[in-house]
Symmetry: C2
Subunit: 433 residues, 2 copies
C-alpha cells in the first residue's frame, strides 16, 4: 500500500482515482451479442451459453424439482445462516416502506405521491466457483417486499445446465421460482428484449464481470432501467486511536480479496497507526486462499494521513467510498460531516462483512465515486413514485390565472386554453344560476 | 387521429409505439462536442456557442446586475403568477422530506438510512423563442429544498450573451445565482467535465432537443448521473360519461402543441364520445398559433375504444403515459388499478397545464413508457440515501457465525476472517476476565 502523508488538497483528486479498464472492446462484443439475441432469440442465447459456459441445454428454465432438491445439498448451518440473514434484510427493507403522501397545497388543490412496485424486474447473479448467494437475498428480498409482480433470475449454468444449489436455495427461500440458467451479456440481452423462453423486464439489477456491466449500460441506453453503474468494489476505513489494528487489517483484506482491481483506502488519524496495521496485514494475508488477488489489490491501495478532522471529512467525501468503516472516538462528527458514501459501518464490531451478508442493509452499492449521486439498492429501487393531483372548482379558480400567465409567457397558447375553457365554463354556469 | 375500436390484446404493443428518431448521427456529433470540450475547455464552449447560437461572448457567467434587472422586464401579473407557482411547488416538494429511518433488526444491530443532498447539480433550461421558465421552478425548487450545495444553471444566450429575463427572474426567485449562458450539447459537456468557468456537477437535470438528450445519455455513460432518459412529451386521457368534450379536446391540444413528435391518446369508455371530442378539436385548433405543430402531432395520435374497465386499465398500464388525465365516474377504480404513469390528473378541473405550471407536482416526467421503471423528478431525485449500521458486541455475536458460514460458502475467506478476529478477541476478553 502506498502512504500519502499530509497530501495537499490539489493532489487529492489523483489519490482518489480508481483502477479502471478501457471497455471499448468489451462494448463492441456486447453490441454483437445484443443484435444476435434481438434477431434470433433463444437460438442465439443457446449459442452463447455453449461458447462461454460450455452449456448446451436448449431449455433454460430451471425445473421446480431442481430448485426443491437444492435443500438436500446444503448443510443445516448454511441454511439457518441464510434464514437469519433473510430475516434481518427483510426487516430493514420492510421498514423502508413509505406512507403515501397527500397535501392540500392550496384550497381545492390536493397533490399526492404514491409508490407502486415496478412490475417486472430481472436479477442477474454471477456464477463461477463462488456462487453469490448473498446477492440473491439482497436483490430478491426488496423486490418481494416492494411487491414486484414478476421477478426473473438469470445466472450461468454449468455444462449440464445445472445451477449452483446455494443460489437455488436462496432464491426459493425468498420466493423466486422463475430462474434461468443463462449468464453473461446474453442474459442481459434476453432480459432487455425478451425471448420465447425468457420474459422481458422493466429494470435489471445485479453485479457481473465487465461484459455484464457493459451489457447493462447498453440496455440502459436502449431504454431498460438498471440499478446503477458498476465498477470494482472498494472500502475506505477511517482508523483512529480507538481502532484495533488487527480488525482494520482484516477489513482491508476482506475487500482486497474481491478482485485484483479492488481498492482499499485507510485514512488514519495518527501516522503511528500505519505500521501496526501493515504488520497485521502481512501476517493475515499469508493464510488467505485468495492471497495473490489480495496482494495485487493492495498495490492499488493506500494509507492517507491528514491533520485535521475537517480535512479527513473533506477527503472522504471527495473519495465517496462504496463501503466506509468509521472507527474513531469522534464517530458522530465524521457521520455529521459525511455527504458521500454507499454504506457506513460504525465502531469496532461492524466489519464490512456484516453488511455484505446479514446485518440487514443492502450490499449492492455505488462504487467509483458514484455515491456522490446514487443511492445503493434499497426498497425505493424496486418502486416508482407517481404523483396525483385533484383540483376542485375552487382549485382551478385559485391557480387558473397564474397558469394562463405562465403558459402565455412560454408561448404555449393551447396550455393556457385548457385552463381558459374551464374558467369560461364555470363563469357561464355562475351567470346561468 | 386514428381510431382503434376494440383492438385485440395482440395489437396493443403496436398501438403503444411512440414516434421516435434515430439518433446515431446525433450521437456522433455529441461525442465530438464532448471530446473538444474535454481537450480545450472554455475555448471549445465559446466556439460552439458562436456556431449554434451566434453568441460570441468569452465570459459565460451571467452577471448579478443582469439577473436583478430581469425584475423590471416582466409584468407584475407574470411575476405574481411565478410566485404563486413557487409556493405550491415548494410546499409539495417540502412535504416529500422523509424522516431518517432507524431500526434495531436484532439485539445489538442498529440499521439506519439517512438522506443527504447531492452536492452539485446542473440544471439545463432550453432557450429559444419560448423560455421554459416553469422548468427553472420544477428543477430549482426541489434542489433548494433538498439542500444541494451548488446549483448550476445553463441555458443558451442570445447573440449578445444575454439570457431571457423570465428565466433569470424565475432563477433568482428560487435562489439560483450561478447561471451560465451556454446551451446545447456543449453545456452538458461543460457540466460533465467542468471547465475553468463552469463547475463540474454530480447530476444533470433538464429537458432539451435531441442533441441535449444524447449529450445527457453520453454523460451518463461516462459517469455523471442524469435525471432520466427523455423522449417526446405525451398525454393519455381516459374519457368517460362525466367528461366534457371541450375540456378533453383542449387537453389533447395542449399536449399536441409541444412538438410534431408529441403524442396524445384518448381512451374512451364509450365510442360515441369520439365524434364530439373530434368536433371540438377541429374548432379549437383553428385559433392556435402553433396550429401546424398540433395538427402534425395529432397524426401520431389515436382514440382507443375498449369494452371493459379492466381492459382499459391494462392498456393504460402497458402504454405507461407520462401525463394521465382520468375523467370518469369510476375514477377510484382506475386509480387503484394503475401501475405505470408519470403524473395523474383527476376529474374535470385538473388539466395537464395545472401540473405543468402551478399545482405543485413536478412536470419533469418519464416519457416513452419509462414510467414503467422511473419516477418523475421529485425531492428524492436530488438526494441519495446512505445506509448506516452499528453493531455492539452482542450484535456481532448474534450474526457472526451466520456471516462466517455464508462467506465460506462464497469462498471468501477474508470476509469470514473479518468476523472471526472480532469473535476471537471477544472470547479472549471473556476468558481473561
Amino acid at each position: 500500500m502506498k502512504v500519502y502523508k499530509y497530501p495537499i488538497k490539489d493532489t487529492w483528486d489523483a489519490i482518489c482515482i480508481r483502477p479502471a479498464d478501457d471497455n471499448t472492446q468489451v462494448m463492441e462484443t456486447v453490441k454483437r451479442v445484443f443484435s444476435e439475441v434481438e434477431a434470433e432469440g433463444d437460438l442465439a442465447i443457446q449459442r452463447f451459453n455453449e461458447k462461454f459456459d460450455k452449456n448446451e441445454s436448449s431449455l433454460f428454465k430451471i425445473e421446480l424439482s431442481e430448485i426443491l432438491d437444492s435443500t438436500s445439498k446444503l448443510s443445516d448451518e448454511l441454511k439457518s445462516s441464510i434464514k437469519l440473514a433473510i430475516n434481518n434484510i427483510k426487516s430493514f427493507h420492510t421498514a423502508q416502506r413509505q406512507e403515501n403522501l397527500q397535501v392540500e397545497v392550496m384550497p381545492g388543490i390536493q397533490c399526492s405521491q404514491i409508490a407502486k412496485p415496478i412490475d417486472r424486474v430481472g436479477i442477474y447473479i454471477p456464477g463461477g466457483t463462488a456462487p453469490l448467494l448473498s446477492t440473491v437475498l439482497m436483490l430478491g428480498i426488496p423486490a418481494q417486499v416492494a411487491g414486484c409482480e414478476q421477478i426473473i433470475l438469470c445466472t450461468p449454468a454449468d455444462k449440464d445446465g445445472k445451477v449452483n444449489p446455494a443460489i437455488l436455495f436462496a432464491a426459493s427461500e425468498v420466493g423466486i421460482s422463475e430462474i434461468y440458467g443463462v449468464g453473461g451479456a446474453q442474459a442481459i440481452a434476453a432480459l432487455h428484449y425478451g425471448t420465447d423462453q425468457i420474459p422481458k423486464v422493466d429494470k435489471i439489477f445485479g453485479p457481473g464481470n465487465q461484459y455484464v456491466t457493459a451489457a447493462k449500460q447498453f440496455a440502459q441506453m436502449q431504454g431498460t432501467a438498471i440499478d446503477m453503474p458498476a465498477g470494482p468494489s472498494e472500502l475506505l476505513v477511517l482508523a483512529g486511536e480507538s481502532s484495533i489494528p488487527d480488525f482494520v487489517a482484516a477489513d482491508l483484506l476482506s475487500q482486497a480479496e474481491h478482485g485484483v482491481d479492488s481498492q482499499v483506502v485507510c485514512v488514519v488519524e495518527n501516522e503511528s497507526l500505519i505500521v501496526e496495521i501493515e504488520k497485521s496485514i502481512e501476517k493475515q494475508v499469508a493464510d488467505l486462499p485468495r492471497k495473490e488477488i489480495a496482494q495485487q489489490a493492495l498495490e492499488n491501495s493506500s494509507f492517507v494521513v491528514l491533520k485535521s478532522i475537517q480535512e479527513r471529512i473533506d477527503f472522504i467525501n471527495l473519495y465517496a467510498p462504496e463501503h466506509y468503516i468509521i472507527c474513531s472516538d469522534q464517530e458522530q462528527e465524521y457521520l455529521d460531516g459525511l455527504t458521500n458514501a454507499g454504506s457506513v459501518f460504525l465502531g469496532n464490531y461492524a466489519p464490512e462483512s456484516a453488511g455484505d451478508y446479514a446485518s440487514g442493509t443492502n450490499h449492492t452499492l455505488p462504487t467509483s465515486g458514484f455515491a456522490k449521486a446514487y443511492s445503493g439498492v434499497n426498497l425505493a429501487a424496486f418502486t416508482k413514485q407517481i404523483t396525483v393531483q385533484k383540483l376542485s372548482e375552487t382549485g382551478i379558480r385559485n391557480i387558473g390565472n397564474a397558469v394562463i400567465e405562465m403558459a402565455n409567457a412560454e408561448s404555449l397558447k393551447a396550455h393556457a386554453n385548457a385552463v381558459q375553457v374551464r374558467l369560461d365554463y364555470l363563469n357561464k354556469q355562475e351567470r346561468d344560476v
